[in-house]
Symmetry: C2
Subunit: 198 residues, 2 copies
DNA sequence: TACAAAATATACTATTTTTGTATATATTCC
DNA sequence: GGAATATATACAAAAATAGTATATTTTGTA
């Protein structure tokens, strides 16, 4: 009577429910997707759903958590690579922006304007995320890889840049997404001054 | 007391409601979008909505009708162009496929699996559409622009081809949409045999 | 300015959807 | 065969949505 917990977390139907929900949430946001619809699409019965999750929010939290974990793993993976810091930063930004565009604006909207509980959860997760990343930035500065700006400032800048990246009208001014991403990266790395003056 | 009807159909808010609904319907389908949401997004009050439309279906019918009218116009426009018939057909197909991909699968799903009334309406519109197109095909055959296949058969073929075009897995096998569309066009024009044997 | 048309705000009821649970049955897989 | 897992169905409670009534405000224009 040991592996019960583990079995529960890896059951076939459970995984199917999670994957289906992920897909639907990403396409339509959260409020537009009903539990019934998730079950139908996943080919699972409602009872099975409630066996594993107490409600839609619980399921959502698990999905969100999964993304964060994946993000941590990716961060460490990138950090372990034998490339200059600048390229590491570029990798991280690209990863984040791709994830963001996959997740889609509807999803983020619903999370941020959803109920109190969800907003709190996201805030908390964000906080933990930030702490990890701050440590990372600090180490980079110690090594001399980054200018001595305050980590808190850097994080706020990243937030603003993310907002920029989500601006559709802006994005449309570029021929393709890569060009847009590169522009953002270059600005982040070098600022606005031409190379000679630096 | 004359232009009342016209004024009603061209009122600013009315147009805004229609445009907003179009956008939301195309992105999320019909059932996922509430009247309240349309009003909020359009910056109109619910009373204004009900002044112009009796319900969501009525609004939808108007939108659908608009697309059909646009389609007719485009058909005539293409027909009037000074290009070979083959290219006209290519233009028509491209137009249809683009419209279809803009509309999105969620929309079509909801229309087809929606209530009785809506299905009937769509059937009726389709019927009218088909009659017009049949006439077009017939004329082309009279001019010798098309092989003498039966127009009904040709229409069924087009239906099947449209189903093909909507198959995501198939589409993914091509580098880009244009290559995919061209493959379909070529098949439609020339069949499967190589040029020498024709 | 003054009027009529158009739009809004608010509040409310009826309807429909969705949620979450209970119960009895079926399937799967050691 | 038996435990774990999944299902079907039906149902009450809760929540969302639709649609209406009434009173007020904004807007265009004669």
């Amino acid at each position: 009577m040991n592996g019960t917990r583990d079995k529960k977390r890896t059951s076939k139907k459970r995984l199917q429910i999670v994957e289906t929900a992920k897909d639907l949430f990403m396409r339509f946001g959260i409020r537009r997707v009903t539990i019934d619809e998730i079950c139908r699409t996943a080919g699972a019965s409602k009872m099975t759903f409630y066996k594993y999750f107490s409600n839609k929010i619980a399921l959502l939290k698990e999905i969100w958590n999964g993304w964060l974990e994946e993000g941590y793993r990716r961060l460490e993976e990138i950090d372990g690579m034998e490339i200059p810091f600048r390229e590491k930063l570029a990798e991280i930004i690209e990863y984040k922006m791709n994830l963001l565009s996959e997740i889609g604006p509807e999803f983020l909207d619903d999370v941020l304007h959803g109920g109190e509980e969800l907003r709190e959860f996201v805030q908390e997760m964000r906080q933990r995320n930030i702490l990890r990343f701050m440590k990372y930035v600090h180490e980079a500065q110690e090594r001399g890889d980054m200018r001595a700006i305050r980590p808190e400032f850097f994080l706020s800048v990243l937030d603003k840049i993310q907002e920029l990246a989500e601006d559709e009208r802006l994005r449309k001014l570029y021929n393709d997404d890569m060009e847009f991403i590169r522009e953002i990266q270059n600005f982040l790395f070098f600022g606005v001054l031409p190379a000679e003056t630096r």
